[in-house]
Structures are given as C-alpha cells and as structure tokens.
Symmetry: C2
Subunit: 361 residues, 2 copies
Amino acid sequence: MQQENKAFPGRISLIQRKLSILKIDGLIISNIINIKYLSGFTGSDGVLIICPDRSFLLVDGRYTNQAALEVQSIPIIEYKDKVEGIITAIKDLSLKQIGFEALSMSVDMHNQLISRLENETLINVGNDLKFLRACKDEAEITLMKKAAEISSLAIANLIGDIKEKCTEKELALQLEIHARRAGADGLAFEAIVAAGANSALPHAKPTDRKIRKGDFIVIDFGVKCQNYCSDETCTFALGALTDQQKNAYQAVRQAHDEAIAAIRANVAASVIDQCARRVLGEKYGPYFPHGTGHGVGLEVHEAPRLAPNSQDVLEAQMVVTVEPGIYIPGQWGIRIEDTVLVKENSCEIFTKMNKQLQIIN
Amino acid sequence: MQQENKAFPGRISLIQRKLSILKIDGLIISNIINIKYLSGFTGSDGVLIICPDRSFLLVDGRYTNQAALEVQSIPIIEYKDKVEGIITAIKDLSLKQIGFEALSMSVDMHNQLISRLENETLINVGNDLKFLRACKDEAEITLMKKAAEISSLAIANLIGDIKEKCTEKELALQLEIHARRAGADGLAFEAIVAAGANSALPHAKPTDRKIRKGDFIVIDFGVKCQNYCSDETCTFALGALTDQQKNAYQAVRQAHDEAIAAIRANVAASVIDQCARRVLGEKYGPYFPHGTGHGVGLEVHEAPRLAPNSQDVLEAQMVVTVEPGIYIPGQWGIRIEDTVLVKENSCEIFTKMNKQLQIIN
C-alpha cells in the first residue's frame, strides 16, 4: 500500500500538545472519521488512544492487517471486544483523566466504560475537537480540488445525456459512470437527480420518473478522491420554463453569488447565511427550508455550519458549500451549490460548473 | 409518491403495546434506521416519539415535505432545533418516564436532553429494541429475495468481464452497472473487488491493481431494493491455482456448507459460528479473524451476530449471512458468503451464485 502520509504524525502531535490544556492525560477518539484524519486508518471500526508521549490504534481482527498497512507511525493493538480493549489500554497506561467525544460516543458505550472505571474520570472534550478537521492543509486542498474537478466534469458530460423520457435513475447511473471513468474513487453520497415535482424535495432520491419538457432537473453530486469529498449542485431546465421559474432561478443564483462574495476569514457563518436569505427575501424565504451551507472534507457534511443559528466563524483554509434553494412543494425546486475555500479576504471556488441558467432543448 | 405500506402502523402498534411492559409512557426513537422501519420515513435525520395512543415524527425543514409524502399515518412536526423539538414534544405530551435508545443516542444529545428535563426520567430501552427488525415479514422477505437475485445476476454477468490486466476498480464499476441495469435501487455497500494480496484484507477497497493469473478475486457485493439489502461473496480464480489455494477454498466451502446446514430456529448463533470454525480447525482457524455472519435487512449489518461470543439465538424469519473466510496476509484471501432465511427446521438460501470453485481462464 501507499507510504504513510506524513501529515498523520503531525496531527497527533498537535493533539498531544493540547492534552495538558484540556487537563487530561489521555484521549479516546471513537469517531471513525476523526480516527481516519489522525491516523490514516480507513476501516469502519476502531479506537484511537492518544497519550502525551505515545498513541495506539485499537482494531478488531477484521482490520489488523489493513491497519498495519495503513498506519505505520503508531502501534496497532487487536481487541476481541471493543470496551474490553479500551479498558485494558486505560489500565495499562494508568490514565486517570481521560477525554472522550460526547458528540459521537453512544450512551451505551459510555455506560459500559464508566461501569468498568473506578479511579478514572471520563471528560467530554467533544467541543474542543469540533473544528479538528475544519481547516485543510495543502495536501487536503489538492485532493479536494481534484474531487471537485472530477465531479464537475461528470456533470458537464451528463448534459449530453439529459433528454426527454430518460429517467432520474438512468441519469444518476450515467453520472456515476462519468465520474468513475474520470478517476473518482467513489461517490461522496448517493447522487440526487430530481426532476419536476421531485426537485422540490431537497434530499430526493433518483426514481423511475421520466424527464419532461418544462422540468427543472436538480443534480446534487459529489465524489471522493482518497477519501476527500466534493459537493456541487446544478439545476438544469429541459425546454421552455415559465417566467416564474426563470425569476426564481435568478433569485437563487443571486443569493448564491452574494453569499459567495461575502465569504472570507473571520466572518460569522450566520452572516453568510443571512446574505443568501436576504436576497430570497419574503417572497422566496419561506421556500428555503435549509441552511446555506456546510463544511466539506473527509465527510460531505462537517463543521462549520452556515445557518441562521450557527455560532461558527469562518477561518482561512476552511472548505464550505454555498447552496441556497427554492422548493415549491408538488411543483418544482431549484438549488445552486458550489464548494469554496475560505481565504483571508475572499474565497476560491473549487467546483467548476458555470451556474448560469442552462436550458437544454 | 407510493401509498404508505400498511406494515408501518402495525409496527408502531406493536411498540405501543409494549410501552407499559417497559414501564414507560413514551419512547424516543432516534436511530434513523429504526425510524425508517417503524414509519417509512427515509430521510437522514429525525426523531420518532411513540406514546400509548399516538405518535409523532419530528423532522427539520429539509424533510417536511418528504416526510408528508412518505408517512401518512402519523403527524409530522417540523423543528428548527432537534433537542428543542424533542423537549417540546415531551412537555406537550406530559411524558414522565421516557424510553430512549442508548445504543444509538450520543452522550451529547442525552446530556442536552437531561439538562432540560426536571420531573422526567430517561430510561434506556435499547436492549429491548435490539431485535426489533431481526425477524422479517413476508413483504420484507419478498424485497430481500429480489435484492439477492439482482446482486447474484450482476455477479454472474461480471464473470465475462474478469480478464487478465483489468483493474479491481473497473470490475467494481462494471458490477454496479450490471446491478443498476438489473433494477437495483442502489448499492447496499461499496463493492469489494479484491485480487491477489488485496483479497487477504477482509474489507479491501477496489484499487487500480490489475488482475493476474493465479489470483483469487474476492467479490463481496450487495444491492438495495426499496431500502432492503442483499449480501453475497464469491471468490473466483484466474488461471492456475496452487494446491494450497485449492485446498483452502474447499475448506472455506465446507465451513460455509456445514454452517448453513446447521441453521434453523432456536439454535444459538454462536453454534453456527462454531460449525464453520470447527471445519477450519487449527490449520486455518488463525486466518479466520471475523465472525461467521450477521443479520441483514434495512442495514447490511444488523442483529443477530453469528460470532464466538454472541449471545443471540436464531429465530424463524431472521435473515442472516454465512461467510467464513481464510486470509493469508500478503498472499491471498478467500471468502464465501450466502444470505439465508432462518426457518423452523432449516433455512432458505436467497443468494443465487453457485459456490463451487470457478476458475476463469
């Protein structure tokens, strides 16, 4: 397998230096995506134990060999039972004040651990790790740009396939074929291809519905490159649109453009949301039922959140989506989405599709 | 959208009748797959509140319209904030003893809820719901058979595509194309196509490695039909195998066959695991690092577990996999898997591929 990325030991060192500030002498990382970020291990289950001077990756037998190939800088320990494995590590290392992630650890796992600990205390440090992965390094940015280019290319190639009477499912498959042939390692999420009334559902799944004249077709698509996600939405039209549809499209586009224009470091994420929401105004606001965007990285949805009630503040090197929409139940929907890199005084758009209204004939 | 499946109100009624036995006057279902099973809602986030005489589905604005289309028998309530939504429901309904699922609820969500509750108590009923979805009804079995047929057909069609020098990734894409064209709604999990040394990793991901003569090619594949999963693994060979490889294949096949022959209602799941493990014996046992099988349904891994330390007992109408394997690190791996329906005195195999050793030339 590939040589270990040097970023991983660096990320763990950063956490190790924080342990004393957090007043803990050990940290249990149970969120599998955080484990991937910190160690490079890509399995579906495991636990990372971080101490000031050493760390351990705990996995079950399915993953022992895979972990050894993926993770060279920290020792791998195989467990038969996960709770047993964690408890053994805590006792062997004589840890007393142990941090854990309350945002992802289940109540059941927590109960099992505390029932086995007498002189040790579990301390929630989830909030301190909330932005662990939010700011991307150069290697991450390179992969995310590549993912964005592949998914944009796949969407561009799909335009030639959009014809009357083809189904949403057929287009979704074709989109995936374009993406995988262009080098995608996989999809970041199940593609949304939603036409006509289905486009009014923000999280529609592809169906056997056939594309018809007058449809908006919402295509929300992302791929993975070495585990990093892209996320982009285009709304195309087939044949003639009503003036109402055209006006709504321009409103979403303007909301999208103004939100992107406002993105820079040190701006509250809620302000970006307001930018989009202000353009949509009283007329369209009630038909925009979701936040304006979210962070993207190893997960397609991660910190920060760009939403009215978000307390997050944008920082340079964050990668976020901007995706306002208008959804008229039972009729049609529009969403326009780009993924951008936050910079000190602006942002850089990763996704490549032009967001002008494209009417396919 | 489609008419609501009549099973959903029936499943909720069953839970409602259990509430008094569990000594609770309300139940918070937060596991999204359990919500799907009980209500038909297929979104990615929401909460189901079940009371003796009524129930409510709580969703955020992204899902209000979708929930209304998918769920007709219970009212939909939109929340802006999930914790706020749950607390409001608890207070409005005057619930006092409230069940929750400790297996899936995060410590953070639990902490937020209890900090807002004074006269109310949260009681873990996760263990009582552990087998909620384990026994399948006739409609579920029909969908699971269909899913199994589609994925077997896709694997059968792939055999013609397996040639020297094609890559694991190319085969994985081709497998998906076969499956989607045969009617799959999606994949149950990212397909495993692992050749040569990669086949020694139980959870390998497809790479650019080219297929070579003498390779075992492990293909672990499943699709979804209306949200229900299939799961099947075939291990093919390209060109000549060593006697050691052939003997190992026959051992896995025998372990698989004997485990399947032992499946029936009222047998401990650990006994099925032992059947497979006994055949593999001291020679191969150290190279079989995972359990013999697991339940399948709305999730590709669900209760029961067929493993040495499992306490589960098989019941009629459970659908489980049987998938012993041998993995020689750095060399090759073999896994053979079928999905079967547990019956009173035997089992019925859903997956269709013949498990005789197939050497492709």
